[in-house]
């Protein structure tokens, strides 16, 4: 986009492009403006880019120093944690448990999406359906997914299915509400325009409703996947004997190995971050998100 504006050499267009960047949902657009106005070069640019990493490094250093000076051992140091991660990787547990957790999140998330999105879109579309379903959704929604753990174990036993069920339950209501709101939020002008040009009801769904709800659905999916990743850890502490959540609780129960506890936390953070980046890249796809400027 920006390249296009430059090629045109069109002053006004460039202004429009700037404004677009500011209004865009991606905070990553903003540094571009700064760079164009007052382009930091060489070392300064490098320092700007490294700033967050430097900050984390300083915190790690402080943590290391503080951990070394503690009289009662309440927290493992970063180096101990790193050793814990290496230890887990050597035993093959790191990969095995990460895959186990991701497996549960994937199936719970996908099954909830497949059910909740079409259902939510339908409920949102028909006012009567919304009036019928809304009270039920509002009653079930405030129940923490963790409160379902005993029921899940009763129904499915200790194992993958129970954990997947818990992820499913935790994703179901946020996704339902996202889909309902997305349909109800479609401006009437889009629907009227679709009808005005003589589209069949099926074509209105495919050419107006579907693209109109997409950005909101993608945002909802991204937030819900983050939630699923939070819930799986708790579910695995009780309902199964593998996974990153189990790793954490097991490391504590089996000998107060807090280095492994924190190692598990770090691995959870890294995978959670990667999942979010994956969803963000999906959200940036031009055909799904209305013409938001991508950096290329």
């Amino acid at each position: 986009m920006l390249r296009f504006a430059n090629a045109l050499g069109h002053r006004r267009f460039q202004v429009a492009a700037n404004r677009r960047s500011c209004a865009g949902p991606s905070a990553r657009d903003i540094p571009i403006l700064e760079r164009r106005g007052n382009r930091p070069k060489g070392l300064r640019l490098l320092l700007t880019k490294l700033r967050p990493l430097v900050f984390i490094a300083v915190l790690l250093l402080l943590w290391q120093i503080a951990a070394g000076r503690q009289t009662v051992h309440v927290l493992p140091s970063p180096l101990e944690t790193l050793a814990g991660i290496i230890d887990l990787a050597r035993q093959g547990l790191l990969l095995k448990y990460a895959v186990a957790s991701l497996f549960r999140v994937t199936w719970g998330f996908i099954s909830a999406s497949v059910l909740a999105i079409p259902m939510g879109l339908t409920i949102g579309w028909y006012r009567r359906a919304e009036m019928a379903f809304n009270p039920l959704i509002q009653i079930l929604r405030p129940i923490s997914p963790l409160a379902w753990i005993p029921i899940a174990i009763l129904w499915f036993g200790v194992g993958d299915i129970a954990a997947i069920f818990l992820i499913f339950i935790s994703c179901l209501f946020p996704l339902l509400l996202t889909a309902i709101n997305a349909v109800q939020g479609i401006p009437a002008v889009y629907m009227n325009a679709g009808r005005n040009f003589g589209l069949s009801p099926a074509a209105i769904i495919y050419r107006v409703l579907y693209p109109a709800v997409m950005p909101q659905l993608i945002t909802g999916l991204r937030i819900t996947l983050g939630l699923a990743w939070l819930v799986v850890v708790a579910a695995e502490m009780i309902a199964v004997n593998s996974g990153l959540g189990f790793l954490i609780i097991d490391a504590r129960n089996a000998g107060n190995r807090y280095d492994l506890v924190v190692a598990g936390m770090v691995v959870i953070a890294v995978i959670g971050l990667l999942l979010d980046l994956l969803m963000r890249s999906l959200a940036a796809a031009k055909s799904l998100r209305w013409g938001v400027v991508t950096e290329d």
Partner: protein, 253 residues
């Protein structure tokens, strides 16, 4: 103006809105004929029901009593032969400029579709922006895009609901003359709702003045000035001031 066929006739239109169990009458016995190829403006106080009347003409709403006929047929729903132009809010943000214009052309062959897209992009001055998304366009450009999308399906009628209301005053003036140029080239019948009396007198063959809600037709003013109109001419000012007085507005501030 030669005697022309009647394109649209509204007969004793009455409409009301239901809200919280209360009925608010909006239109009170509106009867109106629009000639083939005419440019008709509807003005009136804000909230008087101008847009409601236009929505009924488009077939989005049906009148409580009375009938609207277009080419002798009673309007029962929206139809691609009469396209409603919202303020620029109506363009689809998920489609490019080309994609928006192509939206209503699904029944046409590929070559004809492409021909119309090129033609109307040129007509509204969006050449160079074919692949741009609405978010990258200014308000005036979005408005022109919506007009192009409407014209591309060759409608007999354009129904415009305060189309330039959200634009700045300079863009609004340019858009008025562009709309007149397009109307003269295409020969569509235009019904144009506005709250801007100057705009109405500058554009219209006839100006329909509605009263406060429930709206009745107060007056229909024939604007007998040829285009391009001199907006400082005595006749222009006379017509304009007449409408201001009709609406009970003094023309001094």
């Amino acid at each position: 103006m030669a005697i022309r066929e009647t394109k649209l006739s509204a007969e004793h239109i009455t409409m009301a809105f239901q809200r919280d169990g209360k009925t608010t009458p909006v239109l009170n016995d509106i009867s109106l004929d629009v000639a083939q190829g005419e440019f008709l403006c509807i003005v009136g106080p804000s909230g008087c029901g101008k847009s409601t009347l236009l929505s009924a003409m488009a077939g989005f709403l049906s009148p409580a009593s009375g009938e609207i006929r277009i080419d002798g047929q009673v309007v029962t729903g929206p139809d691609p032969r009469r396209i409603f132009v919202f303020q620029e809010r109506g363009v689809f943000p998920w489609l490019t400029v080309e994609g928006n214009i192509e939206f209503g052309l699904f029944a046409l062959a590929r070559g004809e579709r492409q021909r119309r897209i090129t033609h109307y992009i040129k007509m509204v001055g969006l050449t160079g922006f074919e692949r741009a998304y609405p978010a990258e366009l200014s308000g005036g450009m979005k408005q022109r895009l919506e007009v192009a999308r409407a014209l591309a399906v060759n409608p007999d009628m354009l129904l415009l609901d305060e189309p330039f209301g959200a634009l700045d005053s300079i863009t609004r003036l340019t858009m008025r003359s562009e709309l007149l140029r397009i109307w003269e080239a295409e020969g569509n019948t235009v019904v144009f709702v506005t709250h801007d009396i100057d705009e109405a007198v500058q554009l219209a063959d006839r100006v329909v003045v509605l009263s406060d809600r429930p709206a009745k037709i107060q007056q229909i003013v024939k604007v007998d000035i040829a285009h391009p109109r001199d907006i400082s001419s005595a006749r222009y000012l006379e017509l304009r001031n007449g409408i201001f007085e009709q609406l009970g507005l003094a023309h001094t501030i």
